[in-house]
Symmetry: C2
Subunit: 208 residues, 2 copies
């Protein structure tokens, strides 16, 4: 006889299936992880699973920018040393973390929670776009503020940026997007022609 | 300001720490997985965590061979088409699965649950060695049975094999170990000299 589905126990089969549902985790890795968890003290495993349940069940989002937050208003939105008139619009929580890690940005954020994608069935109403428009409309002088559309350079990103632009242009707010060009240390020879072309058109004054 | 520990929320920090405690999962992957789980429906996440809790809390081990099993006696030990007089001694659950996957073995197993390792603080009493000795002692004619010591070829494996051999030699049971030699398809040029040496000493009659 061989094992049913190659696993000696239904409990193990279920755990391996659950773990291999994670992105980038195959069945072999899932088995390795399941057997690892089996060897840990029960309290460690419960700590592991409850940390995940706790995150999923009790996570809160900032009422203003929709970033993950422990409080009603996140630490960035409530930080008055940051420029509250400069709003960087991003797709995800992760993008906020990436930009924060640069240490180069001192404004605030607005997390869309996704990107417009007809293929994935995501429309504007599924995203926090209305909340962004409201946020701008309650500003005293929107024309002295700026929105940076920090979205990806693919079709979905461009579509989303264009949709948001049309929603907010009447407020008179300044709208910008991320600079595109060669990465630092990139070799001209290996750059794609679209990026290289944009780098030439949007060239900058040389500051030695 | 930067995020405390670079995460926007204590819940997220805890989940990332829990996930990155898994072997081979770094903090970047852990963050990716945590944000993935955050986007899933709550019931999917609960299914994921409860499958793991369920495995850890309710797993059973075969009373005879100590393999993971849903029943008191596992499906291999209760399969009477298998040779119950041929016991393959392995370190772990995973080894049983690997040998089963070969389809070449039709005896039963005994899972030690580890290997003797003074460095890791694992002694003979931490392993299912006493249970193996008992199993052999209750056999009607141990001398007609065989134990295969299918342990790894390193110092710990050799030590464990030797320890077990000394425990069971008085029963008169036949004791064997895995054949060592070049792997199928291995190139002589790249084989280590110990393996190549053993391959020559333990050469087999050519069967074309």
């Amino acid at each position: 006889m061989a094992y049913k589905e190659n696993y000696p126990s239904a409990l193990l089969t279920e755990a391996v299936e659950a773990i291999s549902s994670l992105p980038g985790v195959g069945r072999r890795s899932a088995l390795r992880l399941a057997l690892h968890l089996l060897k840990q003290p029960a309290e460690n495993v419960h700590h592991f699973t409850s940390a995940i349940d706790h995150l999923r069940d009790d996570v809160r989002y900032c009422r203003r920018c929709r970033m993950i937050s422990d409080d009603e208003i996140c630490s960035i939105c409530s930080d008055h040393t940051r420029d509250q008139q400069l709003i960087c619009v991003v797709e995800s929580v992760r993008d906020v973390m990436s930009i924060e890690a640069t240490g180069q940005y001192h404004g605030v954020y607005h997390v869309l929670g996704g990107i417009i994608s007809p293929i994935a069935g995501v429309g504007p109403s599924d995203l926090n776009i209305k909340e962004l428009v409201e946020r701008i409309k309650v500003m005293e002088v929107p024309s002295s503020a700026e929105v940076i559309l920090a979205l990806s350079g693919d079709v979905e990103g461009e579509t989303t940026a264009f949709y948001i632009y049309r929603q907010i242009e009447e407020t008179g707010i300044k709208v910008s997007s991320l600079a595109r060009g060669l990465g630092f240390g990139d070799d001209l020879e290996y750059a794609d022609s679209l990026t290289l072309g944009r780098s030439i058109v949007n060239r900058q004054i040389f500051k030695p």
